[in-house]
């Protein structure tokens, strides 16, 4: 009888052990299978972007805005297999028009255009869209609206700048000067409207000079020198771009009037061109439209456009950038400005 009992005990133990082992094994594999859900949308995204071409035609390649945008686009798009093609008209309107015309023949998927003025590319953009190319306009737009515009609201910039100058001029001579960019460029013409809006509300302000410096620092300096000689009691200047207004600031410095003449300008917010200049007193206000944000906005729009090629018919939209006014108060704060080459 004892043998039988022992045999039954061993069998039970063995069976239990086997059952335990099986159960353990089963439960182990059950941890690794069937609990996650597959994401079906990423394949389509990757396929839509790989191998596409984005053409980029800035007004010129050799300055901070254009290079910052290019860096941002590359960072976002190149890892996904998008090819970025660049053309450099080097400030020449005609060369830019020619480059765009040639590009239309090459049929990229998206064109990123920086318009030198509101008219030159208008017909070309129409033609491009007729050929099925999506046109993203960056910062300076054309009179013809394409599918998307990413950039600053120039009228807002003009109003902000002029309000600051008006405040600074309280109790002073109330004479101000305007240093424009290229007369028919969006960044200039629209900003001027914003300036005029505020001037209408401040009839005491007198504009003693409003000339175009064509985005050229040397010209801006020359204009400002003359104005300061004629009106040494000038209380404020509204400049339309910090890249060119380094010349305006130099003229003010040479006349020994830094701090006495309030210079309000706007720009991409690059460390050397914006924050450093405000820190050392060259600019009193630099309204930044933050190039890296604009670049990432553009990249996002492009990603959406590439996934929806041909499906967005007459849709049009504008993405106006949130402005960052840079003054002495926040010029030294880390993160107000971005650094070229380190985005």
């Amino acid at each position: 009888m004892t043998k039988h009992v022992i045999r039954r005990a061993i069998g039970t133990v063995a069976l239990t052990a086997a059952a335990l082992a099986a159960g353990l094994g089963a439960s182990l594999s059950a941890f690794a299978e069937g609990k996650g859900i597959d994401e079906p949308f990423r394949e389509g995204y990757r396929k839509a972007l790989a191998g596409k071409t984005v053409a980029y035609v800035p007004v010129a390649l050799g300055f901070d805005l254009a290079q910052g945008w290019l860096e941002g686009l590359k960072k976002e798009l190149e890892p996904l297999g998008v090819k970025i093609v660049v053309r450099d008209p080097n400030w020449n309107t005609n060369a830019g028009a020619q480059a765009v015309t040639t590009l239309i023949n090459e049929k990229p998927d998206v064109m990123v255009l920086h318009n030198p003025d509101v008219q030159t590319y208008a017909k070309l953009i129409q033609k491009a869209e007729a050929e099925g190319i999506d046109v993203v306009q960056i910062n300076m737009r054309s009179a013809y609206p394409s599918v998307v515009y990413v950039g600053a609201d120039w009228i807002e910039i003009g109003e902000k700048a002029t309000n600051a100058v008006a405040d600074a001029c309280k109790g002073k001579s109330n004479k101000i000067a305007i240093v424009q960019g290229a007369l028919s460029a969006a960044a200039s013409a629209y900003t001027l409207k914003g300036v005029e809006n505020v001037l209408a509300k401040h009839p005491e302000l007198k504009v003693v000079s409003s000339q175009a410096a064509d985005w050229d620092a040397a010209k801006a300096k020359g204009i400002t020198q003359t104005v300061l000689k004629q009106h040494p009691d000038l209380c404020g200047i509204v400049g339309f771009w910090d890249g060119m207004d380094s010349g305006t600031a130099a003229a003010i410095k040479e006349a020994g009037l830094t701090g006495k003449v309030f210079l309000a300008t706007s720009g991409g917010g690059e460390q050397k061109g914006a924050c450093d200049q405000v820190k050392n007193g060259a600019f009193d206000l630099d309204i930044s439209y933050d190039v890296p944000t604009q670049a990432s906005n553009m990249a996002a729009q492009i990603k959406w456009l590439l996934q929806n090629k041909g499906k967005h018919k007459d849709a049009k939209g504008s993405i106006y950038t949130t402005l960052i006014p840079i003054t002495k108060a926040n010029a030294s704060v880390e993160g107000t400005c971005w650094k070229l080459g380190k985005t």
Partner: protein, 728 residues
């Protein structure tokens, strides 16, 4: 001497092989030089369109390089775009080319372009005028801007460079002022005109409108410069302002009008640009003058003036545009564009100046193409040789007519009234009166160098004038041109339709005039170089007085000279000076079209042939062969090296210092020869004429006419009396 080897009947090339006395080496040389066309290279280089050929080659090279580096560079759409841009700039280049050809320069084209572009935009966008009105107004404005330059440079004689530099600045300042006020207005106002749109952006059959307009203007410009008198005036003024003024060309007005035209052409470019891009930006036209200047110089329009064409402007425009567009498309940084263009301009200017200075020298060096010319050793003329060639002194004591009073009587002739006529190097036909031929007068003045003469049955005196053609003088002393051109042969690169050296003639019974043209590759004054070449560049031409038509009868002859209708009236004898032969060609009858050799291996160079009273022929040998030249004629490589390395006046020339007169018959037998030993009276003789028992001698380097009494000659023989009585 009596080899009757005939050529194929139909071909007009008289190619008869000489007696086979050639070594193998000589034969190989002869074959190589017969079949390889050395002369074509020099003739091609001498063509006027060669100057445009180099820029065209550059254009093709640039197009090939760029189309291999850039995909789709030469696709239809891309070409259409390039064409559009080329058209706009092309108009400005045409204007600049015109100004450069007249000897000036216009640096203000960039500013004028900007101003006229603004003007067109102002009229269309702001004032909203109709297209026609805006276009006309803009053209007028462009003319006005050009007129400022024109008046200052044409009438006030200011320096073009400085003046246009100043107008460049003034016009640009004007443009800046105007755009400051109106740029935003222009930007805001889009004109609602499909016509205006079509001007700048339209295309017909895939070709943009501006290209059609440019083609029209360019073709007119080409015709203007090459075929119309005002265009010739422009080129003349550019070549030499002072000389043009001296010839009565209205220099000041023409120069001023050229600048006005330049302004108008620039404004045309501005109109097309305004329609295409509608922009009045600050940088329009800045630096455009450099691009336009580069295009002009690259195309080959000379910076010094006086040289240029519409084709060159077009080629230059295309080269510059292709390079600029190619560089932009290759994503090159914008600054490199200007650097490349400036370097090309520098290179082009250097090459242009170098080529112009050396072109004539290079062409001259390459042009002379000697070929193989082998002959058997010359027969001996030794006094004791016993042959008819034996030297004698029969011409020593001839009577001299007109000594020192006539210069260069190449041919002498007498009419039925015994008057003696001779040509002179002044271009006159001089007449001496019988019986003693002391009194002389100028019968007619024609010009050129009068050579062979003949009378027709109406007593019109036909004269071959070297350098001009075939002329005739009527008995009333009226000078008339008979013909100076013949049919152009397609095998010749040189234009051989015009006559360079009409030499001698004779008239057939039915009024056909057969005359020789000594060479088609050299002018009258270069006849000796043809001797160096020995290439067979001459031909016999026929002018038919019944129909007035001229055509070439025989080609590829070695300096054909004397021509004489033979006794049967169906053939003529002709001499080949460098070939040292006399041949006979039938133009009528059963043997029509065949050529036979009559005299071969003459010891000298035969010149004119005329009838003698006893049914034979007189012929002169203008010079004697010498061993040096005979050997050199078998060595074409030696002669070519000599032509390239040695100055012209030290080359080997055929000797024409001593000669003789010979009488021969149609069977090729030389009957007698007449010499002047010591060369006292008549060392060189080009022509002789028998008349009433005397032989009258003429020589192109002589200052006299000789009269030799022929013993036992027919005292009543008058050549033309017998001739035309027989024919009548």
């Amino acid at each position: 001497m009596d080899e009757t080897l005939t050529s194929a009947a139909a071909t007009p090339r008289a190619e008869l092989p000489h007696a086979p006395t050639l070594t193998l080496g000589d034969r190989l040389t002869e074959l190589r030089y017969r079949w390889w066309p050395d002369h074509v290279l020099g003739e091609i280089l001498a063509k006027r369109w060669m100057e445009t050929a180099i820029p065209v080659v550059v254009l093709i090279a640039v197009a090939l390089v760029l189309s291999s580096a850039i995909p789709n560079f030469l696709s239809a759409a891309s070409l259409a775009d390039t064409g559009r841009q080329a058209g706009e700039i092309g108009f400005i280049v045409l204007g600049m080319a015109l100004v450069m050809i007249v000897g000036g320069i216009d640096l203000s084209v960039g500013s004028t372009f900007a101003l006229t572009n603004f003007c067109a935009l102002y009229f269309m966008h702001v004032l909203k005028w109709p297209v026609a009105g805006a276009v006309v107004a803009t053209l007028g404005f462009g003319a006005l801007l050009g007129a400022v330059n024109g008046v200052l440079i044409g009438y006030f004689r200011l320096r073009a460079f400085l003046t246009t530099l100043i107008t460049l600045i003034i016009y640009r300042a004007l443009y800046d002022l105007l755009t400051a006020d109106y740029a935003t207005l222009i930007a805001a106002g889009f004109p609602d005109s499909t016509v205006w749109d079509f001007v700048g952006n339209g295309a017909w059959l895939g070709v943009p409108t501006v290209v059609y307009a440019y083609a029209l203007v360019a073709i007119f410009g080409h015709v203007f410069l090459t075929r119309l008198r005002p265009g010739w005036h422009v080129i003349a003024i550019g070549g030499s302002r002072r000389s043009a003024y001296n010839t009565g060309i209205p220099v000041r007005r023409t120069v001023a009008l050229c600048y006005v035209a330049g302004g108008v052409l620039t404004s045309v470019g501005g109109i097309f640009f305004a329609s295409r891009l509608a922009t009045a930006g600050g940088d329009i036209g800045v630096g455009l003058e450099i691009t336009v200047l580069t295009a002009c110089v690259l195309g080959g329009i000379s910076l010094g003036g006086g040289k240029g064409s519409a084709t060159k402007a077009l080629v230059g425009t295309l080269i510059v545009l292709l390079i600029v567009n190619g560089l932009t498309t290759m994503s090159l940084h914008g600054g490199y564009n200007r650097m490349v263009l400036a370097t090309i301009l520098l290179l082009a200017a250097v090459i242009d100046i170098r080529w112009l200075k050396n072109k004539d020298r290079i062409v001259n060096k390459v042009y002379v193409s000697p070929t193989y010319h082998g002959m058997p050793p010359a027969p001996s003329t030794a006094p004791d040789s016993g042959t008819p060639w034996a030297l004698n002194d029969k011409l020593k004591n001839v009577r001299v007519i007109g000594l020192g009073r006539i210069e260069g009587p190449e041919d002498v002739i007498l009419d039925r009234d015994d008057n003696l006529y001779a040509g002179s190097r002044h271009g006159d036909i001089v007449r001496f009166f019988p019986p003693d031929y002391e009194r002389m007068e100028i019968f007619a003045h024609i010009g050129g160098t009068p050579l062979g003469m003949a009378f027709d049955k109406h007593d019109n005196l036909y004269v071959c004038i070297g350098g001009m053609g075939l002329y005739r003088v009527t008995p009333e002393r009226q000078v008339e041109k008979v013909t100076d051109e013949t049919n152009r042969s397609y095998a010749s690169v040189n234009d051989d339709s015009r006559l360079r050296l009409a030499d001698d003639l004779d008239i057939s019974d039915d009024g056909r005039i057969f005359f020789s043209e000594a060479t088609v590759r050299y002018e009258m004054h270069e006849w000796a170089t043809d001797g160096l070449e020995a290439r067979g560049n001459g031909r016999i031409i026929c002018y038919d007085t019944r129909t007035g038509k001229t055509h070439t009868v025989l080609r590829d002859l070695k300096f054909p000279n004397g021509v004489c209708i033979a006794s049967d009236g169906q053939s003529f004898l002709f001499a080949e000076t460098w070939g040292c032969t006399v041949k006979r060609h039938w133009f009528d009858g059963p043997k029509k079209g065949t050529t036979e050799l009559v005299l071969d291996n003459l010891p000298g160079f035969p010149d004119n042939i005329n009838n003698s009273s006893d049914g034979n022929y007189w012929m002169s040998l203008v010079g004697m062969r010498c061993p040096a030249l005979d050997l050199a004629w078998k060595m074409p490589g030696f002669r070519r090296r000599m032509a390239k390395r040695v100055p012209r006046d030290e080359w080997l020339f055929p000797n024409i210092n001593t000669g003789c007169v010979l009488k021969f018959n149609e069977r090729g037998e030389v009957l007698e020869t007449l010499w002047d030993l010591g060369g006292e009276n008549h060392p060189m003789i080009t022509s002789m004429r028998e008349h009433r028992g005397h032989l009258y001698l003429g020589g192109i380097m002589n200052n006299r006419v000789g009269q030799y009494r022929i013993p036992d000659a027919d005292p009543g023989f008058v050549q033309y009396e017998r001739r035309w009585k027989k024919a009548a």
